[in-house]
């Protein structure tokens, strides 16, 4: 079985984002970019399935700028077999990504798509669900455990109330949560091999997908600085203050 893993190039999770002074977005110039951590988990899971003999090919795909090739190479250094870049410098919203992925799926025919539950830059948490809807496939989101059989996949989901286990017929979409696994460090020989693995570059128009944004970003601002706390003498004062603030 083939597994498709979409990966996104995002601001490195170690960095503190700065908002551009004109409020149009986050300043990404000269900022270290890395693979979205949830996607790394997805790549890791797919590779583990391949290593366990349950999948025979792992394809990573990214939709984004030319630089996203680096992200794809990272995926291949971890162990993915080949990569597809759908290159665009435009902003792509979850729906556009899902539509492109649908077209890629049509071409590649994977038995499963494993992807991050969300990207840490826009925190949308939509693409996997939209893709499942567009394809009419089963979905197991927020996975903390994935067990693959020949015709079904059992996914343990992290839901608000605890853990929920669902069994999905294949093909299916799985989106990953943080506790699913701990991604490996790429081995040096694999980094070198990754350079020679195939990487196809396509464009959204190859898939005849219109990626025009449906949303308009009005303004991006820094979160307010946390204000200094205040020590109150007793519980009554605390309650009174909270009431005055409309917090209780």
């Amino acid at each position: 079985m083939k597994i498709l893993v979409p990966v996104k190039r995002v601001i490195d999770y170690n960095l503190k984002p700065r908002v551009r002074s004109d409020g149009t977005g986050v300043d990404l110039s000269n900022i270290k970019m890395s693979m979205n951590p949830f996607d790394e988990i997805a790549v890791e899971e797919a590779i583990r399935l391949a290593e366990a003999g349950k999948a025979d090919e792992v394809v990573v795909v990214s939709i984004g700028p030319a630089k996203a090739q680096e992200t794809l190479r990272t995926g291949m250094a971890m162990g993915a077999d080949r990569a597809i870049l759908v290159e665009t410098d435009d902003e792509v919203e979850p729906l556009a990504v899902a539509k492109i992925l649908k077209a890629v799926v049509a071409e590649e025919n994977p038995g499963m798509v494993i992807m991050g539950k969300q990207a840490i830059d826009d925190d949308s948490n939509q693409t996997g669900q939209m893709l499942a809807a567009l394809l009419g496939w089963a979905q197991g989101t927020f996975a903390s455990k994935v067990e693959l059989d020949s015709d079904a996949v059992t996914v343990t989901r992290e839901v608000d109330g605890g853990l929920e286990t669902v069994k999905l017929g294949l093909p299916a979409i799985v989106t990953t949560d943080l506790r699913l696994n701990e991604p490996r460090f790429a081995k040096l020989p694999n980094i070198m091999k990754a350079k020679k693995k195939p990487l196809d570059v396509k464009s959204p128009s190859d898939y005849r997908v219109d990626i025009t944004p449906r949303l308009k970003t009005l303004k991006v601002v820094e979160p307010p600085v946390r204000e200094a706390g205040e020590i109150v003498p007793d519980v009554d004062t605390l309650v009174a203050k909270l009431k005055a603030m409309g917090a209780v």
């Binding site: 190479r73 250094a77 350079k195």
Partner: protein
């Protein structure tokens, strides 16, 4: 707090931009390593050092190594980290693919080494010594020894040591006493005591391969009677697995100022079976194959610690609120300004920054020469590279470690009293950095190597491998542009270096003590000029990038500002060193021993 993010952008500047026209490029064997690939390697190394090595730095320092029931245990987490390190291929980075290495260029390897040193110097010693040992074995060992030991040492399954020092001899190895008795089967029985042996015993690898300097029964006295032996901790079985113990034991661990997670061992060899590496009585020369590679790596230890200290100091200087800016409050809404506003704190941060960037640039140049020495197909380039590496090795070792230690000290100062407190993390840098000035030949000995051997070798041919490119650069860059003050400054500094060279050559010929008395200042002067050259090139490139337009304005602008600080505030030390050299040995040797 120990904060560290690998300075990848600066490393890429050194790797891809600074030295493109130095004549050491264009090596077909290394074509594969284009900037995409080296970038990916640096990124992954950065991630590994930050996520695996850095978290073990402070805990390793607190815990240290312990000797229990005759075996050494490394601090918690080291074993696991070593396993990950070797399995990921970082230990065999620069090793020859013939033995299972990755064959990476030295110019990349040295940058990865820097990251390891920044995040965990103690840890870095274990694979570092193994690599050094493998180099000596590769150059001088018999085919049998190489086939048996090199694959395992390359993969890191087995580790290595270098056993030179004995209690009565460190610098002067001519006095060493460890003996080797020839056996019927061509092997030797090695007996003696060594001290200060890094990684002498530990629990990281399955076997430990000691490269031991010892004397044969018929050995002439002094350094001409020393031979090199390979002595494993466990004698390998026929199938290559570690077999019976070989009479090698660690009798004590040294109690050290720093580098605590590195096991520094007193070693006993009791009729341990060993094999000769290289020719009888040629052991010192064979060991020097390893020492030269190691000396460059020890230099990198200096930059590594310097960088970590700098980053930790910058973080604190932005965080610590104390006093107000002399030009009026910069953060009136806060109870005080962060200390980074104060000129004296700036002096410290800028000095550290200059040292790190200057050493990284210079190290990058030497590393390119190492690659050319190894791989160039042009005999002329190869010869020039060999000269240059020989000349610069003592400079890289001594200058980088002196400056690295100075940076670590400055970081403590930036932290004030908090820097003196263990939890701050920066006093560890000062303790750890200190050893690099001592081992692999003290920095004093490096300076003697420079004036005593390298300077006069082949009537100054080695020197020309440095002087020529620098004076060519100055000639080509003259003019009235914005670079004029720098080029003028560099020209004067180079003049002082050339004059000092002539003075030492002249006086030293008649009186070797004159050369000895000038050595340390000469090495520093040399290093300052070399860093000046690097900064001038960096400025020229940055000017050009800015003129043509770049998305990375901040980076190039900072580079020029840093270079300017170097030229205005650090390079003038050339004059002080020049004057000291000129004064000669007289006042240095004037006091009688009784007057001390």
């Amino acid at each position: 707090m120990q904060v560290y993010e690998a300075p990848i952008r600066d490393m890429r500047f050194v790797l891809d931009e600074l030295w493109v026209d130095d004549g050491f490029g264009d090596i077909p064997a290394l074509e594969e390593f284009d900037s995409d690939l080296t970038s990916a390697i640096l990124e992954e190394a950065a991630k590994f050092s930050r996520e695996v090595l850095l978290p073990l730095n402070r805990s390793g320092d607190e815990e240290g190594c312990v000797l229990e029931n005759g075996v050494v245990r490394t601090p918690e987490g080291f074993k696991d980290a070593y396993k990950q390190f070797t399995e990921s291929g970082w230990a065999s980075l620069a090793a020859d693919p013939e033995w299972g290495g990755q064959g990476l260029p030295e110019r990349v390897n040295k940058l990865v080494e820097e990251m390891t040193c920044s995040t965990n110097l103690s840890f870095g010693l274990y694979p570092g010594l193994t690599h050094g040992g493998a180099i000596a074995l590769e150059a001088h060992g018999s085919e049998d020894l190489k086939n048996l030991y090199l694959p395992k040492m390359t993969s890191g399954e087995w580790s290595g040591t270098m056993c030179l020092t004995e209690s009565h001899c460190g610098t002067d190895l001519g006095m060493l006493r460890t003996k080797a008795e020839p056996q019927e089967d061509g092997s030797y029985k090695v007996s003696g005591s060594k001290i200060f042996i890094s990684a002498g015993d530990h629990d990281l690898s399955d076997n430990i391969i000691h490269l031991v300097l010892a004397r044969l029964p018929d050995a002439p006295a002094g350094v001409k009677g020393i031979s090199l032996f390979l002595v494993p901790k466990y004698l390998p079985n026929d199938d290559g697995t570690p077999g019976p113990s070989n009479g090698v034991s660690c009798s004590a661990l040294e109690h050290k100022m720093g580098l605590k997670a590195s096991a520094t061992c007193q070693m006993q060899f009791e009729e341990s079976t060993g094999w000769l590496v290289g020719e009888p009585h040629q052991g010192l020369a064979a060991m020097f194959t390893m020492m030269n590679a190691e000396r460059l790596s020890v230099g990198i230890q200096g930059v590594g610690i310097g960088e970590a200290a700098y980053q930790s100091a910058v973080w604190y200087a932005k965080d610590r609120l104390q006093g107000r800016s002399l030009s009026g409050a910069k953060y009136p809404d806060k109870p005080a300004d962060p200390i980074i506003v104060h000129p004296d704190v700036r002096r410290m941060l800028m000095t550290m920054r200059c040292y790190n960037e200057g050493c990284r640039m210079l190290g990058g140049w030497v590393a390119r020469a190492l690659d050319a020495e190894k791989h160039s197909q042009d005999p002329e380039v190869k010869a020039r590279a060999t000269d240059f590496v020989a000349l610069m090795t003592p400079i890289v070792k001594a200058l980088f470690t002196d400056l690295g230690h100075e940076s670590a000290n400055l970081a403590v100062q930036v932290y004030g009293g908090h820097g003196y407190i263990r939890e701050s993390g920066v006093e560890q840098y000062a303790r750890d950095a200190r050893i690099a000035m001592i081992y692999e030949g003290t920095n004093g000995i490096q300076a003697l190597d420079l004036v005593g051997r390298k300077m006069g070798q082949n009537t100054g041919r080695l020197l020309r491998s440095f002087f020529h490119p620098v004076s060519d650069f100055i000639e080509a860059s003259k003019g009235d542009g914005p670079m004029k003050p720098m080029i003028d400054g560099l020209e004067k500094a180079l003049g002082a270096l050339q004059l000092s060279t002539a003075t030492i050559a002249q006086k030293g010929l008649k009186d070797p003590e004159e050369a000895g008395a000038a050595a340390t200042e000469y090495l520093r002067l040399f290093g300052l000029v070399a860093m000046g050259y690097c900064f001038a090139r960096a400025t020229m490139i940055s000017d050009m990038k800015l003129a043509f337009g770049t998305e990375e304005k901040e980076f190039y602008d900072a580079k020029i500002k840093t270079a300017t600080f170097f030229f205005e505030r650090i390079l003038p030390q050339v004059s002080a060193n020049f004057l000291a050299i000129k004064a000669g040995k007289k006042s240095m040797m004037a006091l009688s021993e009784e007057q001390f």
